[in-house]
């Protein structure tokens, strides 16, 4: 048969459990604005019953655990989308910066090409006029300068991105170290059956941050997590983190290594992926197109010069310095080779008044001298390509932001703290606590009755 003491213990278990539940609610309310916090719920279970044949008595309630509410699939999707977002952010930033050099209204290559051809057109009206000849040389110098500035800007931008790569790798290393430490703490707590909800929240937040930097695969194992890049390079395994390192290649650009292996080409997502894509693909492609244009123009005009005669009646010498073999670096090294305006080979027959050769030079404006396209059309193609790439990356980023926002809203609806819900829980737990306290008071009164029976 049950005793008053047993009833008192049962009531006390209620008090303890409700107190724990109230503590959980208090913690939820306190963390309502904490980024990455997952709502916690108390898990209450009936205590093991006491069997006194033929009767079975309940022995109260136990607060078995405090669980954090999470959706692992949703979190994986958020991490994946965060990677895309990080990659597109880096790409959009790089392309927008590159685009500025091609779309400015003053001093851009397109304007310089037009001005140069216009100066040749003017010279054809009076081929012996030294001021018009000087005008052509000035325009040619401006054209060379426009190529130099744009190419140098791209080179500088590539160097800046390369430095960002190093910083990003350093951030990745810091995060993987912290995640490994949290893995250890979570494993230790869960190993002894305790709740590690707060640490798991912190780890999830750090994994989100890591996802924005690099492509991460999350592989859950017993009480811990393993993180790898998309191509399987280990970043974190349990309580151990694997540091990434950078080393310059022969061209001076940083390559990324993991445990001695070059993994640069395997990183395709996250901010690091976007930076590598801009540094190794997008900007070099633009540089290559600029070099093609510069080399094509220089070669065509040098050939045209060689076909005419200058004011002294001599065969024309190159107008531009010959571009490097293969064209690489032609834009940054483009320079006018002559300084004396009399050396412009405007004449086609050696006579001073002839404008045959300068007209031939002007005709290059409408000839397919750059891979079958006119210089202006080829340059427009470059501007169009960089503009389209930038607009598309921007649109991808906007779309990714919308999807990420939706996923975060979903996570908030599942894992976020609702103050209304917590207020209701607070009242519910408070009433239960008050009821248990009332039971204790009643048992106390009954015990007093028993004691009084003995003393009277």
């Amino acid at each position: 048969m049950s005793s008053l003491n047993a009833s008192l213990a049962t009531a006390l278990s209620g008090l303890t459990a409700e107190q724990g539940a109230l503590q959980t609610t208090t913690n939820n309310v306190a963390n309502v604005n904490t980024p990455g916090y997952s709502r916690q719920v108390p898990v209450l279970v009936s205590s093991d019953p006491l069997v006194l044949d033929p009767l079975t008595f309940g022995t109260g309630v136990t607060l078995q655990s405090i669980e954090s509410i999470r959706d692992p699939i949703l979190e994986a999707r958020i991490q994946q989308e965060t990677q895309t977002q990080g990659q597109l952010g880096a790409l959009v930033s790089a392309l927008s910066q590159a685009q500025v050099g091609f779309t400015s209204t003053n001093g851009d290559i397109g304007t310089a090409i037009s001005n140069f051809f216009d100066s040749l057109n003017q010279l054809s009206t009076s081929p012996a006029d030294l001021s018009l000849r000087q005008g052509v040389l000035t325009s040619a110098g401006n054209l060379a300068s426009a190529f130099n500035v744009t190419a140098d800007n791209l080179t500088t931008q590539r160097g800046d991105i390369d430095r960002n790569v190093q910083q990003t790798v350093s951030q990745i290393n810091q995060l993987t170290q912290q995640i490994a430490q949290l893995n250890l703490q979570i494993s230790n707590l869960e190993g002894v059956g305790e709740s590690a909800g707060s640490f798991i929240d912190q780890r999830t937040e750090l994994i989100d941050q890591l996802s924005s930097l690099v492509d991460v695969n999350v592989i859950p194992t017993d009480n811990t997590l393993t993180l790898t890049t998309a191509n399987g390079t280990a970043l974190v395994s349990g309580s151990q983190s694997f540091q990434l390192s950078t080393q310059p290649d022969p061209t001076g650009l940083q390559r990324i290594y993991a445990q001695g292996k070059d993994i640069t080409s395997g990183i395709v997502s996250g901010q690091l992926g976007g930076e590598l894509q801009a540094r190794d693909q997008q900007i070099p492609a633009l540089q290559s197109q600029l070099d093609t244009l510069a080399a094509g123009l220089a070669n065509s005009f040098n050939t045209a010069q060689a076909g005419g005669f200058d004011l002294n009646g001599n065969a024309g010498t190159p107008l531009f310095n010959p571009p490097p073999a293969g064209g690489t670096g032609a834009a940054s090294s483009l320079a006018v080779a002559i300084t004396d305006p009399a050396l412009l080979a405007a004449s086609s027959d050696g006579t001073v008044g002839s404008n045959g050769n300068v007209e031939a030079m002007y005709a290059l404006r409408n000839q397919g001298i750059i891979q079958g396209q006119t210089p202006t059309v080829y340059y427009s193609g470059i501007v169009f390509n960089v503009g389209t790439a930038s607009a598309n990356a921007n649109a991808e980023q906007n779309a990714s932001s919308l999807v990420l926002q939706q996923l975060n809203d979903q996570r908030a609806s599942i894992s976020g703290v609702s103050l209304d819900q917590e207020a209701a829980n607070l009242v519910q737990f408070q009433q239960a606590y008050a009821a248990s306290a009332q039971v204790v008071s009643t048992i106390n009164s009954m015990m007093q009755t028993v004691i009084n029976m003995k003393t009277s």
């Binding site: 607009a391 598309n392 921007n394 649109a395 906007n398 779309a399 919308l402 939706q406």
Partner: protein
């Protein structure tokens, strides 16, 4: 689909001639409607609400046609000034605002195209799951032939 938004002048049969100011006003109203429609479509795409996507696409197609007709009937036919926002005379400010609205709509169109591609991938994944492990994933023998039962690939698709 809406991603293929062409803002050029279509071939339209001998339309009436409107005053430039009225065209600007009407264009601004249509573009505002188009922006709102893109907003609705984006929400539908994020929810994978197929009926909403279809409705939005039809709406955008209607508005696109309306803009094409409107822009084809300004004084002087194809009005490059209207679209570029330059050389528009006394309506310069309105035209610049219109130009900004056009660019905004184009950007929304690009975003829509990306979201459509994502939705298509998601739906294809769902169709693969629904088809089950015994589905035939090989492309049909000829593009003209109908997709056989259990084959969840489109006629042009291969894995």
């Amino acid at each position: 689909m809406t991603s293929n938004l062409a803002l050029g002048s279509p071939n339209v049969p001998s339309p009436p001639v409107f005053a430039r100011a009225h065209v600007l006003q009407a264009s601004a109203a249509l573009l505002a409607e188009l922006k709102a429609s893109f907003g609705d479509s984006q929400r539908a795409l994020l929810r994978l609400d197929l009926a909403g996507i279809e409705h939005g696409t039809r709406d955008q197609w209607r508005l696109q046609r309306a803009l094409q007709i409107l822009w084809g009937v300004t004084e002087g036919g194809q009005d490059e000034g209207l679209r570029s926002g330059v050389d528009i005379g006394p309506d310069r400010a309105d035209a610049a605002a219109l130009r900004a609205a056009v660019l905004e709509v184009l950007q929304l169109g690009r975003v829509q195209a990306v979201l459509l591609a994502r939705a298509q991938r998601s739906l294809r994944m769902i169709s693969h799951r629904v088809a089950g492990p015994h589905a035939n994933y090989q492309a049909p023998a000829s593009p003209a032939s109908a997709t056989p039962a259990g084959n969840c690939m489109g006629p042009q698709e291969t894995i």
